[in-house]
Symmetry: C2
Subunit: 277 residues, 2 copies
């Protein structure tokens, strides 16, 4: 069983509920964040907290609690969830909304929810064979803010499934930004290229860029669709996906169509890092 926190109360997640005048529910006014623990410790906590704070500022929602208080809540949730039978490593999800609005539009005080969740790891076969994504002409509104706006990918669920794909790769006017919930990289020789505009700045992306410094020339810059044609490898990064190879983008086969050595190398570096976290 997993425990969660809502506005000061800690309880089993299935006992938590949000009142119906919440602006996240009524008006889509909410932001979130999501990260894992390794060895019982929140991974890259400082970076996640910084990002969450930044999203909150950009959405004009003052955080109701500070960093150390939040960390203490994480530890309590971890402890209680494990005591109730949850596996030692889990995911944390923060959701902060515009709070309850009697007039259904004005922000008074944010609602803050912190959930622990089971990790849903990507099946090994996807790391072995790579995944397919399909292109979608779209750019996320306020892409830099981890708002709760994920309408697009849910709306496109059937199209993704029909194409035998696992996700969308967003592009607009030929410029690639990101996948629906993860970042995008290509490899060309010793260059690692990743878009820097209209993206959510992923913490795993940042971790990979750091891990790659010694072995690659990392370029954070606008990336055009046309550059996919001579990419040797492509992969996507996120908390749960880590470094997940992409071998097919719509009709285009990436490189040789199988998982390349550089994606594997970076996944290994990442796995080493988290093993000793």
């Amino acid at each position: 069983m997993h425990y969660g926190y809502f506005n000061g109360t800690i309880a089993p997640t299935d006992q938590l509920a949000v009142g119906v005048t919440d602006l996240g529910l009524l008006r889509g006014y909410g932001l979130f964040d999501y990260f894992l623990t390794y060895n019982g410790r929140p991974f890259q906590w400082d970076w996640y907290w910084e990002r969450f704070q930044n999203s909150a500022t950009r959405m004009h929602l003052p955080l109701p609690i500070g960093k150390s208080e939040t960390y203490a809540i994480l530890m309590t949730l971890l402890e209680r969830s494990i005591a109730a039978g949850a596996p030692a490593d889990m995911a944390f999800r923060f959701v902060m909304t515009g709070g309850y609005a009697p007039d259904s539009i004005s922000v008074e005080r944010a609602n803050l929810l912190i959930l622990t969740e089971e990790i849903h790891p990507v099946p090994q076969i996807h790391y072995d064979q790579g995944v397919k994504v399909i292109l979608d002409e779209y750019v996320r509104e306020m892409a830099e803010v981890k708002s709760t706006d994920y309408k697009r990918v849910i709306l496109m669920a059937q199209a993704i499934k029909s194409a035998g794909a696992s996700d969308l790769l967003y592009q607009k006017g030929g410029e690639i930004s990101e996948l629906s919930r993860s970042n995008f990289f290509i490899v060309k020789g010793d260059r690692l290229i990743t878009p820097n505009r209209n993206i959510l700045h992923g913490i795993t992306r940042r971790t990979i860029i750091q891990l790659a410094q010694n072995d690659f020339k990392v370029q954070e810059r606008p990336l055009m669709l046309s550059e996919l044609y001579d990419a040797e490898e492509a992969f996507t990064t996120s908390s749960t996906k880590k470094v997940l190879p992409i071998t097919q983008i719509g009709e285009l086969t990436v490189g040789e169509g199988h998982v390349g050595p550089k994606s594997k190398f970076l996944l290994e570096r990442f796995n080493e890092l988290v093993k000793n976290w």
Copy 2:
């Protein structure tokens, strides 16, 4: 006290709550609708139901209940709310989300919420003096669908207030679409002009177009910012605003800067219609 309905249960609104894996809350995947009763009867019910159904279809969410069952629920909510002391006329708010998702992304079955709410009428002084709006370069994603995505106007709340304005008028590339939660019209001579693209097709807009047929040439067409300069009158329409005159758009004074006779005329026609609804 007001009553609401949630997935088959009827209870006082403040006793209703939504579980924390709801996709409206976690992912902004939700749609809604909102309408008033006059003389205890839902205003333009057939049109609202049609629109709600259309929004649901476009968001790939099958409606869990049909029209007559829904209408029976409305009647029960109305009755119970009035018995509990609510005024005879009230507002209904429908909110339908992607439902509970254990994996936080996949739709299984929609959650449907129907709330009754107190009506918040626009103060008379705004009808007497008109209101100010400010321009905002923005276009709603999936504007035709009444999704719960109202981030923009909440984000801009401080800017609206600082300008002494009451709302945003959206334009993109010089083309006007709508206000944040209502439609836009201008009057030039006997022409009534209202944008027809990138808008939510308001039921009050539709009602006004119908009421105006005999006295105006109604043009539903793209409307450019440049056309505001010789507009004689401007107004906005919505369930709660009815026909609300706009006398100031950013730095621009509309017409003579006071409420014009044609806006007044249309508001009177509207008030007559609802009086006998």
